[in-house]
Symmetry: C2
Subunit: 236 residues, 2 copies
Protein backbone atom coordinates (compact mmCIF):
# COMPACT_ATOMS: atom_id res chain seq x y z
CA UNK A 1 0.00 0.00 0.00
CA UNK A 2 1.36 3.39 -0.97
CA UNK A 3 2.17 5.60 2.00
CA UNK A 4 2.43 9.12 0.69
CA UNK A 5 3.78 10.54 3.92
CA UNK A 6 6.83 8.26 4.15
CA UNK A 7 10.29 8.93 2.78
CA UNK A 8 12.21 5.68 2.43
CA UNK A 9 16.00 5.64 2.54
CA UNK A 10 18.33 2.72 1.94
CA UNK A 11 21.84 3.19 3.35
CA UNK A 12 23.21 6.40 4.78
CA UNK A 13 25.25 9.21 3.39
CA UNK A 14 27.82 8.41 6.08
CA UNK A 15 28.58 4.95 4.71
CA UNK A 16 29.68 6.47 1.40
CA UNK A 17 32.47 8.38 3.18
CA UNK A 18 34.81 5.43 3.91
CA UNK A 19 33.77 3.76 0.63
CA UNK A 20 31.26 1.14 1.81
CA UNK A 21 29.92 1.13 -1.72
CA UNK A 22 28.64 -2.39 -2.29
CA UNK A 23 25.23 -2.40 -3.95
CA UNK A 24 23.03 -3.63 -1.12
CA UNK A 25 19.60 -3.06 -2.62
CA UNK A 26 18.32 -3.57 -6.15
CA UNK A 27 16.33 -1.01 -8.08
CA UNK A 28 13.52 -3.56 -8.20
CA UNK A 29 13.42 -3.67 -4.39
CA UNK A 30 13.69 0.11 -4.08
CA UNK A 31 10.73 0.60 -6.43
CA UNK A 32 8.57 -1.27 -3.88
CA UNK A 33 9.06 1.79 -1.66
CA UNK A 34 8.23 4.50 -4.15
CA UNK A 35 7.89 5.67 -7.74
CA UNK A 36 10.08 8.76 -7.29
CA UNK A 37 13.56 9.14 -5.89
CA UNK A 38 17.31 9.64 -6.16
CA UNK A 39 20.39 7.52 -5.46
CA UNK A 40 23.68 6.19 -6.74
CA UNK A 41 24.87 2.82 -8.04
CA UNK A 42 27.36 0.32 -6.61
CA UNK A 43 30.83 1.86 -6.40
CA UNK A 44 29.17 5.30 -6.82
CA UNK A 45 28.11 4.39 -10.33
CA UNK A 46 26.58 7.64 -11.50
CA UNK A 47 23.64 9.70 -10.29
CA UNK A 48 20.16 8.22 -10.23
CA UNK A 49 16.80 9.87 -10.57
CA UNK A 50 13.56 7.94 -10.38
CA UNK A 51 10.51 9.43 -12.10
CA UNK A 52 7.11 7.79 -12.58
CA UNK A 53 8.47 4.44 -11.43
CA UNK A 54 11.43 4.39 -13.81
CA UNK A 55 15.05 4.65 -12.68
CA UNK A 56 17.45 6.70 -14.80
CA UNK A 57 21.20 6.84 -14.37
CA UNK A 58 23.39 9.73 -15.43
CA UNK A 59 26.77 8.07 -15.84
CA UNK A 60 30.23 9.65 -15.65
CA UNK A 61 30.19 10.27 -19.40
CA UNK A 62 27.01 12.30 -19.00
CA UNK A 63 24.86 9.72 -20.76
CA UNK A 64 21.39 8.96 -19.42
CA UNK A 65 20.62 5.23 -19.13
CA UNK A 66 17.43 3.45 -18.13
CA UNK A 67 18.29 1.32 -15.08
CA UNK A 68 17.30 -2.36 -14.94
CA UNK A 69 15.61 -3.84 -11.85
CA UNK A 70 18.80 -5.79 -11.09
CA UNK A 71 20.92 -2.61 -10.76
CA UNK A 72 22.26 -2.37 -7.19
CA UNK A 73 22.78 0.66 -4.96
CA UNK A 74 24.52 1.48 -1.67
CA UNK A 75 22.36 4.59 -1.07
CA UNK A 76 18.99 5.74 -2.38
CA UNK A 77 15.79 7.55 -1.46
CA UNK A 78 12.31 6.78 -2.72
CA UNK A 79 8.74 7.82 -2.05
CA UNK A 80 5.33 7.60 -3.66
CA UNK A 81 4.68 10.90 -5.41
CA UNK A 82 1.70 13.00 -4.35
CA UNK A 83 3.01 16.51 -4.73
CA UNK A 84 0.96 19.63 -3.99
CA UNK A 85 1.49 22.92 -5.84
CA UNK A 86 3.65 25.33 -3.85
CA UNK A 87 4.49 28.18 -6.24
CA UNK A 88 4.97 29.21 -9.84
CA UNK A 89 8.34 30.87 -9.94
CA UNK A 90 10.26 32.87 -12.54
CA UNK A 91 13.83 33.94 -12.72
CA UNK A 92 15.19 32.61 -9.43
CA UNK A 93 18.57 31.25 -8.45
CA UNK A 94 19.01 27.95 -6.63
CA UNK A 95 19.71 29.68 -3.31
CA UNK A 96 16.67 31.95 -3.61
CA UNK A 97 14.48 29.04 -4.57
CA UNK A 98 15.66 26.87 -1.66
CA UNK A 99 15.04 29.74 0.73
CA UNK A 100 11.57 30.46 -0.66
CA UNK A 101 10.61 26.80 -0.50
CA UNK A 102 11.58 26.46 3.18
CA UNK A 103 9.75 29.67 3.97
CA UNK A 104 6.58 28.73 2.03
CA UNK A 105 6.45 25.12 3.19
CA UNK A 106 7.18 25.95 6.88
CA UNK A 107 8.63 22.46 7.05
CA UNK A 108 12.26 22.96 8.11
CA UNK A 109 11.83 20.45 10.94
CA UNK A 110 10.65 17.55 8.83
CA UNK A 111 11.56 15.76 5.62
CA UNK A 112 9.95 16.86 2.37
CA UNK A 113 10.46 16.58 -1.36
CA UNK A 114 10.18 19.21 -4.05
CA UNK A 115 9.58 18.70 -7.72
CA UNK A 116 10.23 21.45 -10.23
CA UNK A 117 9.22 21.19 -13.86
CA UNK A 118 10.00 23.97 -16.28
CA UNK A 119 12.71 25.88 -18.10
CA UNK A 120 16.13 26.11 -16.51
CA UNK A 121 19.33 27.90 -17.46
CA UNK A 122 22.97 27.59 -16.41
CA UNK A 123 22.37 24.17 -14.96
CA UNK A 124 25.54 22.66 -13.53
CA UNK A 125 25.48 18.98 -12.59
CA UNK A 126 28.01 16.36 -11.66
CA UNK A 127 28.11 12.63 -12.02
CA UNK A 128 30.43 10.40 -10.05
CA UNK A 129 32.50 7.62 -11.64
CA UNK A 130 32.19 4.00 -10.57
CA UNK A 131 35.06 2.41 -8.67
CA UNK A 132 35.59 -1.33 -8.36
CA UNK A 133 36.52 -3.07 -5.09
CA UNK A 134 38.45 -2.00 -3.12
CA UNK A 135 36.08 0.92 -3.50
CA UNK A 136 37.25 4.51 -3.37
CA UNK A 137 36.39 6.76 -0.47
CA UNK A 138 33.90 9.58 -1.10
CA UNK A 139 36.75 12.11 -1.22
CA UNK A 140 38.62 10.05 -3.84
CA UNK A 141 35.44 9.68 -5.89
CA UNK A 142 34.72 13.40 -5.67
CA UNK A 143 38.13 14.13 -7.20
CA UNK A 144 37.17 12.01 -10.23
CA UNK A 145 33.67 13.37 -10.72
CA UNK A 146 32.63 14.90 -14.03
CA UNK A 147 30.93 18.28 -14.25
CA UNK A 148 28.33 19.04 -16.92
CA UNK A 149 26.68 22.32 -17.80
CA UNK A 150 23.72 23.33 -19.92
CA UNK A 151 22.81 26.90 -20.88
CA UNK A 152 19.14 26.27 -21.54
CA UNK A 153 17.21 23.10 -20.75
CA UNK A 154 13.70 21.95 -19.97
CA UNK A 155 13.42 19.23 -17.40
CA UNK A 156 12.48 17.98 -13.96
CA UNK A 157 14.28 18.51 -10.70
CA UNK A 158 13.60 16.16 -7.78
CA UNK A 159 14.88 17.41 -4.46
CA UNK A 160 14.79 16.17 -0.89
CA UNK A 161 15.05 18.34 2.19
CA UNK A 162 16.27 16.82 5.46
CA UNK A 163 16.33 18.51 8.86
CA UNK A 164 19.74 19.42 10.30
CA UNK A 165 19.32 16.77 13.03
CA UNK A 166 19.61 14.01 10.41
CA UNK A 167 22.79 15.33 8.82
CA UNK A 168 25.06 12.39 8.08
CA UNK A 169 22.21 9.92 7.73
CA UNK A 170 20.89 12.11 4.92
CA UNK A 171 22.14 15.35 3.41
CA UNK A 172 20.98 18.13 5.77
CA UNK A 173 19.19 20.77 3.75
CA UNK A 174 18.50 20.18 0.05
CA UNK A 175 19.77 17.44 -2.24
CA UNK A 176 18.65 17.89 -5.85
CA UNK A 177 18.93 15.62 -8.90
CA UNK A 178 17.90 16.66 -12.42
CA UNK A 179 16.77 15.04 -15.66
CA UNK A 180 16.10 16.90 -18.89
CA UNK A 181 12.85 16.26 -20.77
CA UNK A 182 14.82 14.87 -23.73
CA UNK A 183 16.77 12.52 -21.43
CA UNK A 184 20.07 13.87 -22.75
CA UNK A 185 21.25 15.70 -19.62
CA UNK A 186 21.06 15.35 -15.86
CA UNK A 187 22.85 14.46 -12.64
CA UNK A 188 23.41 15.66 -9.11
CA UNK A 189 22.62 19.38 -9.17
CA UNK A 190 25.41 21.78 -8.21
CA UNK A 191 23.76 24.96 -9.45
CA UNK A 192 20.85 26.18 -11.56
CA UNK A 193 18.72 29.14 -12.46
CA UNK A 194 14.99 28.58 -12.85
CA UNK A 195 13.69 30.69 -15.74
CA UNK A 196 10.08 29.63 -15.26
CA UNK A 197 8.66 26.61 -13.54
CA UNK A 198 6.10 24.98 -11.30
CA UNK A 199 7.34 24.11 -7.85
CA UNK A 200 5.41 21.45 -5.98
CA UNK A 201 6.19 19.82 -2.68
CA UNK A 202 5.32 16.77 -0.62
CA UNK A 203 5.69 16.68 3.12
CA UNK A 204 6.63 13.49 5.01
CA UNK A 205 5.85 12.67 8.62
CA UNK A 206 7.94 9.50 8.50
CA UNK A 207 11.57 8.87 7.58
CA UNK A 208 12.04 5.13 7.08
CA UNK A 209 15.77 4.46 7.38
CA UNK A 210 16.78 1.03 6.09
CA UNK A 211 20.33 -0.13 6.87
CA UNK A 212 22.38 -2.78 5.00
CA UNK A 213 22.59 -5.14 8.00
CA UNK A 214 23.49 -8.11 5.77
CA UNK A 215 26.62 -6.37 4.47
CA UNK A 216 29.49 -7.56 6.65
CA UNK A 217 31.75 -4.68 5.63
CA UNK A 218 29.12 -2.17 6.76
CA UNK A 219 28.33 -3.96 10.00
CA UNK A 220 31.99 -4.37 10.98
CA UNK A 221 33.17 -0.91 9.96
CA UNK A 222 34.50 1.39 12.69
CA UNK A 223 33.01 4.78 11.81
CA UNK A 224 34.66 6.52 14.75
CA UNK A 225 37.82 7.31 12.80
CA UNK A 226 36.05 8.60 9.67
CA UNK A 227 35.67 12.31 9.48
CA UNK A 228 32.08 11.90 8.32
CA UNK A 229 30.79 15.44 8.49
CA UNK A 230 33.83 17.17 7.07
CA UNK A 231 33.98 14.73 4.19
CA UNK A 232 30.27 15.00 3.40
CA UNK A 233 30.24 18.76 3.33
CA UNK A 234 33.33 18.92 1.14
CA UNK A 235 32.00 16.34 -1.32
CA UNK A 236 28.27 17.07 -1.43
Amino acid sequence: MAKHTTLYQHGTLALLVPGLLRGTMTMGELLKHGDTGIGTGEGLDGELIILDGKGYQVDASGKVNLVPDSFTMPFANAHYARYSPLAELENVSQDDLNEQVVSLSRAANTFFSIKITGSFSDVKTRAVRKSEPPFHTLAQTARNQKIFTKDQVKGTLIGYYSPELFDGAAVAGFHHHFLSDDHQFGGHVLDFHLDKGDVSYQLFDTFEQHLPVNDKDYMQHDFSTDNIFESIHTSE
Copy 2:
Protein backbone atom coordinates in the same frame (compact mmCIF):
# COMPACT_ATOMS: atom_id res chain seq x y z
CA MET B 1 1.28 -6.80 9.96
CA ALA B 2 4.04 -7.17 12.50
CA LYS B 3 7.45 -6.22 11.18
CA HIS B 4 9.98 -7.66 13.58
CA THR B 5 12.92 -5.87 11.99
CA THR B 6 11.56 -2.34 12.40
CA LEU B 7 12.13 -0.01 15.33
CA TYR B 8 9.46 2.69 15.39
CA GLN B 9 10.14 6.05 17.01
CA HIS B 10 7.72 8.91 17.56
CA GLY B 11 9.37 12.28 18.13
CA THR B 12 13.07 12.84 18.66
CA LEU B 13 15.26 13.18 21.68
CA ALA B 14 16.22 16.61 20.35
CA LEU B 15 12.71 18.03 20.65
CA LEU B 16 12.74 17.35 24.38
CA VAL B 17 15.70 19.71 24.83
CA PRO B 18 13.85 23.03 24.29
CA GLY B 19 10.73 21.59 25.96
CA LEU B 20 8.52 20.71 22.98
CA LEU B 21 6.71 18.35 25.29
CA ARG B 22 3.14 18.27 24.00
CA GLY B 23 1.79 14.73 23.82
CA THR B 24 1.60 14.19 20.06
CA MET B 25 0.82 10.48 19.95
CA THR B 26 -1.44 8.36 22.13
CA MET B 27 -0.42 5.07 23.68
CA GLY B 28 -3.19 3.45 21.64
CA GLU B 29 -1.59 4.69 18.42
CA LEU B 30 1.91 3.72 19.56
CA LEU B 31 0.76 0.17 20.32
CA LYS B 32 -0.10 -0.22 16.63
CA HIS B 33 3.66 -0.09 16.04
CA GLY B 34 4.77 -2.62 18.62
CA ASP B 35 4.10 -4.51 21.84
CA THR B 36 7.38 -3.52 23.50
CA GLY B 37 8.97 -0.13 24.03
CA ILE B 38 9.94 2.87 26.12
CA GLY B 39 8.93 6.54 26.23
CA THR B 40 7.77 9.45 28.31
CA GLY B 41 4.43 11.23 28.79
CA GLU B 42 3.33 14.75 27.90
CA GLY B 43 5.38 17.30 29.82
CA LEU B 44 7.91 14.52 30.57
CA ASP B 45 5.34 12.75 32.70
CA GLY B 46 7.42 9.88 34.04
CA GLU B 47 9.24 6.99 32.41
CA LEU B 48 7.35 4.48 30.29
CA ILE B 49 8.06 0.85 29.61
CA ILE B 50 5.87 -1.24 27.34
CA LEU B 51 5.89 -5.00 27.89
CA ASP B 52 3.63 -7.55 26.18
CA GLY B 53 1.46 -4.82 24.71
CA LYS B 54 0.86 -3.01 28.02
CA GLY B 55 2.24 0.43 28.80
CA TYR B 56 3.50 1.12 32.32
CA GLN B 57 4.46 4.49 33.73
CA VAL B 58 6.90 5.04 36.56
CA ASP B 59 5.85 8.43 37.88
CA ALA B 60 7.92 10.97 39.82
CA SER B 61 6.77 9.45 43.12
CA GLY B 62 8.17 6.10 42.01
CA LYS B 63 4.74 4.53 41.62
CA VAL B 64 4.08 2.22 38.68
CA ASN B 65 0.80 2.93 36.85
CA LEU B 66 -0.85 1.10 33.98
CA VAL B 67 -1.20 3.62 31.15
CA PRO B 68 -4.55 4.09 29.34
CA ASP B 69 -4.72 4.17 25.52
CA SER B 70 -5.53 7.89 25.67
CA PHE B 71 -2.22 8.75 27.41
CA THR B 72 -0.18 11.03 25.16
CA MET B 73 3.57 11.18 24.58
CA PRO B 74 6.08 13.52 22.92
CA PHE B 75 8.68 10.76 22.49
CA ALA B 76 8.52 6.97 22.45
CA ASN B 77 9.96 3.85 20.85
CA ALA B 78 8.11 0.65 20.05
CA HIS B 79 8.70 -2.62 18.24
CA TYR B 80 7.18 -6.06 17.95
CA ALA B 81 9.18 -8.35 20.20
CA ARG B 82 10.95 -11.33 18.71
CA TYR B 83 14.10 -11.54 20.80
CA SER B 84 16.81 -14.18 20.31
CA PRO B 85 18.95 -15.49 23.17
CA LEU B 86 22.33 -13.78 23.32
CA ALA B 87 23.89 -14.84 26.62
CA GLU B 88 23.24 -15.97 30.17
CA LEU B 89 25.25 -13.63 32.33
CA GLU B 90 26.16 -13.54 36.00
CA ASN B 91 27.65 -10.85 38.15
CA VAL B 92 28.21 -8.09 35.58
CA SER B 93 28.05 -4.32 35.84
CA GLN B 94 26.05 -2.19 33.44
CA ASP B 95 29.18 -1.05 31.59
CA ASP B 96 30.51 -4.60 31.23
CA LEU B 97 27.15 -5.82 30.05
CA ASN B 98 26.75 -3.07 27.45
CA GLU B 99 30.25 -3.80 26.15
CA GLN B 100 29.65 -7.54 25.97
CA VAL B 101 26.33 -7.06 24.18
CA VAL B 102 27.86 -4.86 21.47
CA SER B 103 30.72 -7.31 21.06
CA LEU B 104 28.47 -10.40 20.92
CA SER B 105 25.82 -8.87 18.68
CA ARG B 106 28.34 -7.29 16.27
CA ALA B 107 25.62 -4.75 15.61
CA ALA B 108 27.16 -1.39 16.55
CA ASN B 109 26.17 0.07 13.17
CA THR B 110 22.47 -0.65 13.39
CA PHE B 111 19.61 -0.33 15.85
CA PHE B 112 18.83 -3.21 18.18
CA SER B 113 16.98 -3.92 21.39
CA ILE B 114 18.02 -5.98 24.37
CA LYS B 115 15.82 -7.57 26.96
CA ILE B 116 17.21 -8.81 30.25
CA THR B 117 15.16 -10.83 32.72
CA GLY B 118 16.64 -11.93 36.00
CA SER B 119 17.97 -10.83 39.37
CA PHE B 120 19.49 -7.38 39.66
CA SER B 121 21.18 -5.54 42.50
CA ASP B 122 22.02 -1.89 43.17
CA VAL B 123 19.57 -0.73 40.54
CA LYS B 124 19.44 3.05 40.30
CA THR B 125 16.64 4.60 38.27
CA ARG B 126 15.21 8.04 37.75
CA ALA B 127 11.80 9.30 36.85
CA VAL B 128 11.13 12.77 35.53
CA ARG B 129 8.36 15.01 36.83
CA LYS B 130 5.62 16.36 34.58
CA SER B 131 5.58 20.06 33.79
CA GLU B 132 2.55 21.94 32.52
CA PRO B 133 2.64 24.46 29.63
CA PRO B 134 4.80 26.45 29.25
CA PHE B 135 6.78 23.21 29.48
CA HIS B 136 10.19 23.03 31.11
CA THR B 137 13.32 22.46 29.08
CA LEU B 138 15.07 19.11 29.40
CA ALA B 139 17.72 20.67 31.64
CA GLN B 140 15.07 22.15 33.98
CA THR B 141 13.26 18.80 34.11
CA ALA B 142 16.50 16.96 34.84
CA ARG B 143 17.05 19.16 37.90
CA ASN B 144 13.64 18.05 39.25
CA GLN B 145 14.00 14.34 38.54
CA LYS B 146 13.67 11.79 41.31
CA ILE B 147 16.23 9.05 41.88
CA PHE B 148 15.22 5.61 43.15
CA THR B 149 17.42 2.72 44.24
CA LYS B 150 16.82 -0.93 44.99
CA ASP B 151 19.36 -3.29 46.56
CA GLN B 152 17.86 -6.50 45.24
CA VAL B 153 15.13 -6.82 42.65
CA LYS B 154 13.83 -9.22 40.03
CA GLY B 155 12.58 -7.69 36.87
CA THR B 156 12.87 -6.90 33.18
CA LEU B 157 15.13 -4.39 31.48
CA ILE B 158 14.27 -3.20 27.98
CA GLY B 159 17.08 -1.38 26.23
CA TYR B 160 17.60 0.17 22.82
CA TYR B 161 20.92 0.67 21.15
CA SER B 162 21.28 3.37 18.47
CA PRO B 163 24.33 3.98 16.26
CA GLU B 164 26.36 7.12 16.92
CA LEU B 165 25.19 8.60 13.58
CA PHE B 166 21.64 8.94 14.94
CA ASP B 167 22.64 10.73 18.13
CA GLY B 168 20.13 13.49 18.78
CA ALA B 169 17.30 11.73 16.96
CA ALA B 170 17.73 8.87 19.41
CA VAL B 171 20.10 8.32 22.33
CA ALA B 172 23.38 7.13 20.79
CA GLY B 173 24.48 3.96 22.53
CA PHE B 174 22.18 2.34 25.08
CA HIS B 175 18.95 3.62 26.61
CA HIS B 176 17.52 1.27 29.24
CA HIS B 177 14.22 1.27 31.12
CA PHE B 178 13.35 -1.17 33.92
CA LEU B 179 10.28 -2.69 35.53
CA SER B 180 10.33 -5.02 38.53
CA ASP B 181 8.35 -8.26 38.39
CA ASP B 182 6.15 -7.05 41.26
CA HIS B 183 5.47 -3.73 39.45
CA GLN B 184 6.64 -1.76 42.49
CA PHE B 185 9.87 -0.33 41.06
CA GLY B 186 11.21 0.90 37.75
CA GLY B 187 12.20 3.86 35.59
CA HIS B 188 14.94 5.12 33.34
CA VAL B 189 18.03 3.10 34.28
CA LEU B 190 21.05 5.03 35.56
CA ASP B 191 22.98 2.06 36.89
CA PHE B 192 22.59 -1.62 37.75
CA HIS B 193 24.42 -4.80 38.51
CA LEU B 194 23.08 -8.01 36.97
CA ASP B 195 23.42 -10.84 39.47
CA LYS B 196 22.07 -13.47 37.09
CA GLY B 197 19.94 -13.11 34.02
CA ASP B 198 19.09 -14.02 30.46
CA VAL B 199 20.10 -11.46 27.88
CA SER B 200 18.28 -11.59 24.58
CA TYR B 201 18.48 -9.21 21.64
CA GLN B 202 16.58 -8.22 18.53
CA LEU B 203 18.26 -6.62 15.58
CA PHE B 204 16.49 -4.05 13.37
CA ASP B 205 17.26 -3.23 9.75
CA THR B 206 14.80 -0.34 9.72
CA PHE B 207 14.45 2.73 11.92
CA GLU B 208 11.06 4.29 11.28
CA GLN B 209 11.24 7.88 12.50
CA HIS B 210 7.83 9.54 12.86
CA LEU B 211 7.80 13.30 13.44
CA PRO B 212 4.99 15.40 15.02
CA VAL B 213 4.31 17.40 11.84
CA ASN B 214 0.88 18.48 13.09
CA ASP B 215 2.35 20.17 16.15
CA LYS B 216 2.80 23.82 15.26
CA ASP B 217 5.26 24.45 18.08
CA TYR B 218 7.50 21.66 16.80
CA MET B 219 7.27 22.69 13.18
CA GLN B 220 7.98 26.35 13.88
CA HIS B 221 10.76 25.85 16.41
CA ASP B 222 14.23 27.11 15.54
CA PHE B 223 16.54 24.34 16.74
CA SER B 224 19.68 26.16 15.62
CA THR B 225 20.05 28.00 18.94
CA ASP B 226 19.44 24.95 21.16
CA ASN B 227 22.55 23.28 22.39
CA ILE B 228 21.04 19.89 21.59
CA PHE B 229 23.98 17.58 22.04
CA GLU B 230 25.39 19.16 25.17
CA SER B 231 21.97 19.17 26.82
CA ILE B 232 21.20 15.57 25.87
CA HIS B 233 24.47 14.20 27.17
CA THR B 234 24.16 16.11 30.44
CA SER B 235 20.56 15.02 31.01
CA GLU B 236 20.49 11.47 29.64
